[in-house]
Amino acid sequence: MDALRYTLKRILLMIPILIGISMLTFFISNTIPGDPARLAAGPYADAKVIEELQEKMGLNDPVYIQYFRYMKSLLQGDLGNSNYSHQPVMEDIKQYFPATLELTFFSMFITILIGIPLGVISASKKDKIADQFARVLALIGVAMPAFWLGIILLLFFYLKLGVLPGSGRLDTGLAPPETITGMYTIDAILTGNWTVFTSAVIHLILPGITQAAVTIGMITRMTRSSMLEVLRSDYIRTAFAKGGSERRVLYGHALRNGMMPIMTLLGMTFGHSLGGSVLVESVFSWPGLGKYAVNAITYLDFPAVMAVTILIAVLFIIVNLVIDILYQVVDPRLNYE
């Protein structure tokens, strides 16, 4: 009950934040030079056509009128038409966002699976060889530019060995599965299409690893420092005094206590990757939100820029909310304040 009330309160609090963000984006985009009508009309259109288009797009109205008009259709699920793809922005997002979502889930999965145990081992074997190894690995992960790693992986596994695909989401010739979530792996499972599933997973590997490399480094380092602090606690000594094995104490007592800062960092990186990683998506020709956003900015595709900005803001807020709720699940001392 408390948890439910807390969640509702937090969701209501999202509204003013979103209004603020939408206003900011709208007005800032409006001050940027460049005429969407001219861009939409194409380079050879004459002045009259452009003028008509300006009128039609409502560009001559005062900015606040334009804003209200935008917000009204937004609430009806209409994000306007892209000046570049000439289809509703909503459709574009439905197409690009699941690709990013899928890549993000995959790389976060790798991050958690490798980063946290590596950090735990590193802390429990402090200053021993395993720790040194993990620390160097984490440092390399953090320090290495993602696009560079991407290119190296591409050269090696795709061009030289030819064992992994280097671009796209599916083998050419395979039709995407019926759209349910838009994430090919999930949709393939839901429709029982295993050929597509395998192909989708294989295509995720290189971009997934590239994106995970940096976050694994960060999570490992955070897990290590958080665990080192926890391992000094009295209750850890109690757990050993009861006869607990090292493994039991580390994973049963210490990790959960050290989870807070790890969760915070995971949430941040998760939110961040949801906005799309331009570099990784470019290297692997991954048709995701990052690429879409860059296109939108390059072509001054105003409705698309607005939509992406608002979407990223909403995602960040949701991730934050989920993390905050998870805090309370993990730590009984925090009661829904």
Partner: protein, 338 residues
């Protein structure tokens, strides 16, 4: 005999080099007996306890013999130690709040000892947890079992710690200042509870404390430590009435002051020598009012100074001369075996 320490020495790594923290500690604990260990802060009381439990910091060097129920446990592997920790020997720490995992219910924390050492099924464990909570004097046991440590008072938390330790009926219970973090009335209740549990379960208790009042309340025998060494041990009455070692006398002299102002042990003038700069003679020499020439040069042996009463001081050198340490220990053993 339940527990015997034979010439236990401990060195810990500090700033890259080893320093001797405990020097040839020998002591015995019998079944159903409470042995107090007292001494100033830093004299090695906790390290003695942690050496027995082998919960030492990394890179600790432990020498000597530790026998628990005639089993030499100082050479036990990690695995074997995990089997007896929490089962045959258990330990209670000073601060019950920080010693309990804040994220687990107290019921679960008591249950963990049972999971580790018994074959009880889930239902039987639940029952035993309730039983234990009742034993340590907590009413509404089933409610408390699902509480988290922060929801309980200090005294209740220490009772939980006791329940955790008592879960498998250990034969040895080590308490490291179990009442220091509690207020006076709660302190007395906890001590009563421990006395009661000792009588019921026939275990041996090592009670580490700063507080001679606590010693008077629960201990049968007392060991006085100074700078990593045992300087005196005797029966409780004997020690209070007839202290021999100048250090013990100093400690006891500080009691009247205790009544007026709550000072801890160590109102004896001077400073304890640090472990890496131990003098070659008696470690108490610098602060001792009865110091003699020999005290600076040679470490005093342990002398039998009364019935079951030992003191390491040159004032009481055995008349028959340089008896070696092991024969003195045998003498003590003989006196302790009634």
């Amino acid at each position: 005999m339940l527990l015997e320490l034979k010439n236990v020495s401990l060195s810990l790594k500090r700033d890259g080099k080893y320093v001797k923290i405990l020097d040839e500690i020998s002591l015995q604990v019998n079944k159903g007996e409470t042995v107090g260990i007292v001494g100033e802060s830093g004299c090695g009381k906790s390290m003695t306890a942690l050496s027995i439990m082998r919960l030492l910091p990394e890179k600790a060097k432990l020498e000597g013999g530790i026998l628990l129920e005639k089993e030499e446990i100082s050479s036990y592997s990690k695995r074997k130690l995990e089997k007896i920790r929490g089962d045959k020997m258990a330990m209670i720490f000073q601060d019950p709040l920080t010693s309990l995992n804040p994220l687990h219910t107290v019921g679960r924390q008591i249950e963990e000892t049972l999971i580790l050492h018994t074959d009880l099924n889930k239902e039987q464990r639940k029952k035993r947890v309730i039983e234990l909570l009742n034993e340590v004097g907590l009413p509404r046991a089933d409610e408390i079992a699902s509480d988290y440590p922060h929801q309980l008072s200090g005294g209740m938390r220490q009772r939980i710690m006791i329940a955790v330790a008592m879960a498998c009926n250990p034969s040895l219970l080590i308490c490291d200042e179990p009442t220091t973090a509690l207020d006076v009335t709660v302190q007395a209740q906890i001590l009563d509870l421990m006395n009661h549990l000792k009588d019921v379960n026939e275990m041996g208790i090592i009670m580490i404390t700063h507080d001679l009042g606590v010693v008077a309340e629960v201990c049968d025998r007392v060991i006085v430590m100074y700078a990593g060494k045992i300087v005196e041990q005797a029966e409780i009455k004997e020690l209070f009435i007839n202290p021999k070692h100048p250090y013990t006398k100093g400690l006891l002299d500080s009691i009247p002051k205790l009544a007026m102002k709550k000072t801890k042990l160590g109102s004896i003038p001077g400073m304890v020598p640090s472990p890496d700069k131990m003098p070659k003679g008696c470690r108490f020499y610098e602060r001792c009012s009865s110091a003699m020439e020999i005290c600076r040069e040679k470490t005093p042996p342990m002398n039998l100074v009364g019935e079951e009463h030992l003191a390491a001081c040159w004032l009481f050198e055995e008349k028959e001369g340089e008896a070696n340490a092991s024969s003195r220990n045998k003498g003590l053993e003989a006196t302790l075996h009634h």
